[in-house]
Symmetry: C2
């Protein structure tokens, strides 16, 4: 298994200003590849919080830490400085980074001058490599730290994060994961309470502890209880994923019907 | 200052299934009271992850940890067991908890039986107090741990989390914070790049490091750069909050205009 952590930086995420859609998007992308986000840690824009958070996460020895936010030109964009502090490295003006910034500025038809704001975005930790941002100014950053953890630093603007993630981070993680097969379904259920189905979910998980089976109660609709039920099986073997999946879905379907419930819809996906 | 951490539990939050709207909502509520969420940590439904995460967070000695998710009847709802494990306490069947569950079941017109699923929801860590849930079955939980940290455990269903948070958690935190005054504005700007405004934000923050000043670039609109700028000042003194706020807003407005930018709208709030 490949372990991946998201480290989100930004006060706006902690004060109800901005929803952490980036962590949600990254989690979904990894899960679709057959991987998974192990943790999300969100801290404010402060050198102490960023460096302390990084050290705590490195101590868990993950394969990847994906840091998001705080690469821009404003004074509260201090992620790279905080990361460098946590790693006891210097931040240095990087020629490749400024070349990427210059290229972007000229691409959008503006004249390049080495302003302090642009200079700041080219200051990256020693040993780090800047990553091209096709849709914004601040480059991403890749470095290795601790016991072989790969650290990616991506901008917080969602379009920029997604661009660099797709072009660099995802490719590297996918290479590490190898090909994974996924079989999954979301079933909508009616006329059954979560508490009534709970023991059957427990039995199913005893049969296949590696599966992900999760009920989401959706409240009463016209006095009738409703719920969604997710079943996901991931495996390196396509045959294993499908046979485990079929076994679980038919077991749960029998139980739902026996308990008086109805499956009102099914959305399946195989990969 | 009162330090508060959100500890979110649930695999659905890590795989792109469910957006962590609860952390966002709690962060916003605290900030409106004049407090702030210091961190959000999200982990999956696993006894090891929950107990290890709790221990890490307690080591930071926050005033409050608000645990959200995993109190329901299904086998992957293991938050209270994980919390108890982290605290080296037992979980025990709690008479007050089962009374609250019974009351809720009867309120929604169903007959109460002590099923294993309901019994599970009444198993809470030793020394914990169950909290009434007006809109769902699983009670919340309050306990104290570590060096005087108050730990709240709330259900992950948003309506239930909000109900217990408002009736219990918020009241206690508000009492600890005392009355706070807030003056804030969100300005929409046009014709100015974030990198051009960055040095002025830096100067403003040197004048008042206690203020929160944050630019959010909103991209080009008809070829013209746009951005939002937040200025928030929090103080125990109503006069201080307002005078610092006025000083910062007039300083920044002058700079924006000098740099060729326009303020296209302003949304102010005072409390």
């Amino acid at each position: 298994m490949v372990s991946v952590i998201n480290f989100s930086v930004g006060k706006e995420l902690l004060i109800g200003r901005t929803m952490n859609t980036n962590a949600h998007w990254i989690g979904g992308r990894l899960y679709k590849m057959g991987g998974m986000l192990d943790r999300v840690l969100t801290v404010t824009d402060s050198l102490e919080e960023i460096s302390a958070g990084l050290k705590e996460l490195l101590a868990l020895r993950p394969d990847f830490i994906i840091v998001v936010g705080g690469l821009g030109p404003t004074p509260d964009d201090m992620t790279l400085k905080g990361i460098a502090l946590g790693l006891e490295r210097k931040i240095k003006f990087n020629e490749d980074a400024i070349a990427l910034i210059k290229e972007h500025i000229e691409k959008v038809g503006r004249e390049f001058e080495l302003t302090p704001a642009r200079r700041k975005m080219a200051m990256i930790p020693e040993g780090a490599v800047p990553l091209r941002n096709d849709v914004g100014t601040a480059p991403g950053v890749r470095l290795t730290a601790g016991k072989g953890t790969v650290v990616y630093c991506l901008p917080g603007v969602p379009s920029e994060m997604r661009n660099i993630f797709s072009n660099f981070t995802e490719k590297e993680i996918r290479g590490r994961l190898g090909e994974m097969h996924i079989a999954k379904v979301t079933m909508k259920l009616s006329r059954i309470y979560e508490s009534a189905l709970a023991p059957s979910i427990g039995e199913a998980l005893k049969m296949h502890p590696e599966a992900y089976i999760k009920s989401h109660p959706r409240g009463l609709k016209s006095g009738v209880p409703t719920m969604e039920l997710d079943v996901t099986v991931t495996s390196r073997e396509s045959g294993t994923a499908r046979s485990t999946y079929s076994e679980l879905v038919s077991f749960l379907s029998r139980r739902i019907s026996k308990l008086g419930g109805t499956i009102t819809s099914k959305r399946e996906a195989m990969k």
